[in-house]
């Protein structure tokens, strides 16, 4: 008799309520039964990428204040997630970032100027998704999660072992699209890791108004997949957990949801007014848990980095920032008629006429 039941085996374990941590806020190693910290080379790479990422982020915020970007959602404070997630990816994996995740793109190797296209307002997405294996930054919340499921499904059908990392916020987990994507991934067993950056706020709404579950990773159990809960300000832990989840997913053991507990140190975007909804003391609390400081301390204490090396990295970061400013000024403006160029593969008569009208108008 054919039975058509759900339960294919035993339930995956519940995620721990206390997040996985490999490095504590004071830069001391913490031992974990399941995970070991990445090697020193990786830890150095993580720190380096975080320093560069934060410098990029600071520069982008400054450019926004000067009116040279339309808007900038900073990831200041979330660098361990931005960097820990991306450096865990293989070259042929795909990244699905949101508006918040510019630093993840820079870490992935996308030209910073191309990253800023969206926020400068020249065009929507400025980089070539296929070249970098990075989907365009996504604004409609949670909608890119199912794209990652479809893409990896397609890759698997081609015999490739491509996995995908989806970045999403705590607020986005409330959307129906998050649920549908988690479930499709689990049912199709596609290699996708959903990294929820729980930065405690969705604009002005605290995460306890989004969910009353013990952790956001507890959702995983309802889809029959693994949930992980990690200290999102511990780059070593984020890297270890994401690497582990990607490896499992790639091996066919199923997708995973990871909640990374972190904090949005700045406003939602430059035009936000966080004093309306949150207390400065909260920011102070998290300042002491800075992701860069703790990894720097660890690497210093273990003799893997010194002032001069740090100086070199910071100088490199400053050069990047200076180039950003220059290249942004130098960048040419778009021709208005490009409005019509990318709506369809070939321009229908209606749009050709409208383009001609615009050109005539501009000449007049």
């Amino acid at each position: 008799m054919k039975r058509t039941d759900v339960r294919p085996g035993s339930a995956p374990p519940l995620p721990p309520v206390e997040p996985i941590r490999l490095v504590d806020p004071d830069g001391r190693r913490v031992s974990d039964p399941a995970y070991t910290a990445p090697d020193h080379g990786t830890l150095l790479a993580l720190l380096r990428a975080m320093i560069i990422g934060r410098r990029f982020d600071r520069q982008a915020s400054a450019l926004t204040r000067q009116g040279r970007l339309a808007v900038y959602p900073s990831s200041y404070g979330q660098e361990a997630c931005q960097v820990g997630g991306v450096l865990a990816l293989a070259d042929n994996d795909w990244l699905f970032p949101t508006y918040r995740d510019s630093v993840s793109l820079v870490t992935r190797g996308v030209d910073p100027i191309e990253v800023l296209t969206l926020l400068r307002g020249d065009w929507h997405s400025g980089y070539d998704p296929e070249r970098h294996r990075c989907a365009p930054q996504c604004t409609p919340l949670a909608t890119n999660a199912s794209h990652a499921v479809g893409l990896t499904y397609a890759a698997r059908r081609k015999g490739e072992d491509t996995a995908a990392l989806v970045l999403m916020g705590d607020g986005a987990t409330s959307e129906g699209d998050a649920h549908e994507a988690y479930n499709f991934a689990a049912v199709w067993n596609t290699p996708v890791v959903f990294l929820i950056q729980n930065n405690h706020w969705a604009i002005s709404v605290p995460v306890h108004k989004q969910s009353v579950a013990p952790t956001l990773a507890h959702k995983a159990i309802g889809y029959g997949m693994r949930g992980h809960h990690v200290d999102g300000n511990d780059a070593a832990a984020v890297h270890a957990v994401v690497s582990h989840a990607l490896a499992e997913a790639r091996a066919g053991s199923g997708p995973a949801i990871i909640e990374a507990r972190t904090y949005r140190m700045g406003p939602h975007t430059n035009s936000d007014a966080p004093q309306r909804y949150r207390d400065d003391s909260e920011v102070e609390y998290w300042k002491e848990r800075d992701p860069l400081a703790r990894l720097e301390r660890l690497l210093r204490d273990e003799g893997r980095i010194d002032d001069s090396e740090l100086e070199r990295i910071r100088a490199q970061a400053d050069r990047l920032a200076a180039t950003m400013r220059e290249r942004l000024s130098a960048a040419g403006r778009l021709a208005p008629e490009e409005l019509f160029s990318h709506v369809y593969a070939s321009t229908p008569a209606l749009l050709a006429r409208q383009r001609q009208e615009l050109l005539d108008e501009l000449e007049a």
């Binding site: 929507h124 794209h147 397609a154 994507a181 499709f184 990318h342 709506v343």
Partner: protein
């Protein structure tokens, strides 16, 4: 030549597309072993396997969202929304991603995908099973929207839609699934973006698409008996609109009626009337009239006959096209019983 219903022609188109191009995949709710609630995907899982034709979880936004991801990676997904109203959960994916991906990425990522949607009423189904949702899609730049009215077009347009580099919303007039015609399959009819004159006439142009084409042809036949030679244009493509074919006809006849099932207010007929009037103003002897559904939620089965455009209602509109310069300044709009748009 053999006889095929529209449903069979669509089935054959999917089969031939699956056979011709290994990147085509077909999925959705109940499209696998069941063959779809209208049997349009009948036999495809058996022939092409669960990898190519399969049932997904029951979630339309997830279906369209995963199709976006597949299309980003070189597949050509053909997904089904089981009924018109069950496409609405996917609306955000359709408007914000399907329609915009090529534009958002500055032309770098196109989405060759097809969303099949059985639409319209007339089959005695309960609520939410009779919506005509074409305008939501036709008003969304970045989509192609097509709808066949004959088995031959069903086959040809679906093949072309699947081959198109851009997303196509493929609207299937569900009341015509069982309508048969003699046709040699495979067949390729006129290109997807062209309207077609289904019947020539000199007195008035009747413009329709999908489920209403047959009704309008019937009306034209009835009108002929009353001495009026109606030309019938089947639009086939709702977006883009084939201005050339339509305006050429209306300039010849000087009168036009556009017919559809959807609510008249803000319906597709509004666009047709507006653009035809703009392009043919001085050729028109009377305003372009619209015969559409009433501006009410789709009615229960017992009442749908009163709601749907009928041959009589189309003939009534033709009658009101001011044939004998009845118009005076005192009865300014339209003479006779109707003073207004709306049916």
């Amino acid at each position: 030549m053999a006889e095929f219903s529209m449903g069979q022609a669509l089935n054959r188109a999917l089969r031939d597309a699956l056979a011709a191009d290994p990147s085509v995949v077909v999925y959705g709710e109940d499209v696998g072993p069941l063959g779809g609630v209208f049997r349009v995907t009948d036999g495809l899982t058996a022939e092409f396997g669960e990898d190519r034709v399969f049932d997904s979880p029951l979630a339309e936004s997830g279906i369209v969202g995963t199709a976006v991801g597949m299309a980003m990676y070189g597949r050509r997904p053909v997904v089904e929304m089981q009924f018109d109203a069950f496409g609405y959960p996917a609306f955000e994916q359709v408007v914000s991603h399907v329609a915009k991906m090529r534009n958002r990425t500055r032309g770098r990522v196109g989405l060759p995908l097809v969303i099949r949607i059985p639409y319209g009423g007339g089959i005695g189904a309960v609520e939410h099973h009779g919506d005509s949702s074409e305008m939501y899609y036709a008003h969304t730049p970045g989509l192609h929207v097509v709808t066949p009215a004959t088995p031959a077009d069903a086959y040809s347009l679906l093949r072309e839609a699947i081959e198109d580099p851009d997303p196509v919303v493929f609207l299937e007039p569900k009341r015509r699934y069982w309508t048969k015609a003699e046709v040699d399959l495979p067949v390729r009819t006129e290109p997807m973006d062209r309207a077609v004159v289904r019947r020539t006439g000199t007195d008035v142009t009747l413009i329709a698409y999908g489920p209403m084409v047959d009704t309008v042809l019937e009306a034209a036949e009835a009108a002929r008996e009353e001495g009026c030679a109606a030309e019938v244009v089947d639009l086939r493509s709702l977006s883009p609109f084939d201005d050339q074919t339509v305006t050429a006809s209306v300039r010849r006849t000087g009168r036009a009626v556009v017919v559809h099932e959807a609510a008249t207010f803000g319906g597709y007929g509004a666009e047709v009337a507006a653009r035809v009037t703009e392009q043919c103003f001085h050729y028109l002897e009377a305003p372009v009239l619209r015969v559409g559904g009433f501006d009410i939620p789709y009615p229960p089965p017992e009442l749908e006959e009163y709601h749907l455009p009928s041959v009589d209602r189309i003939l009534g509109a033709i009658d009101r096209l001011q044939w004998e310069s009845e118009w005076t300044a005192e009865s300014p709009a339209v003479p006779g019983r109707r003073s207004e748009v709306g049916v």
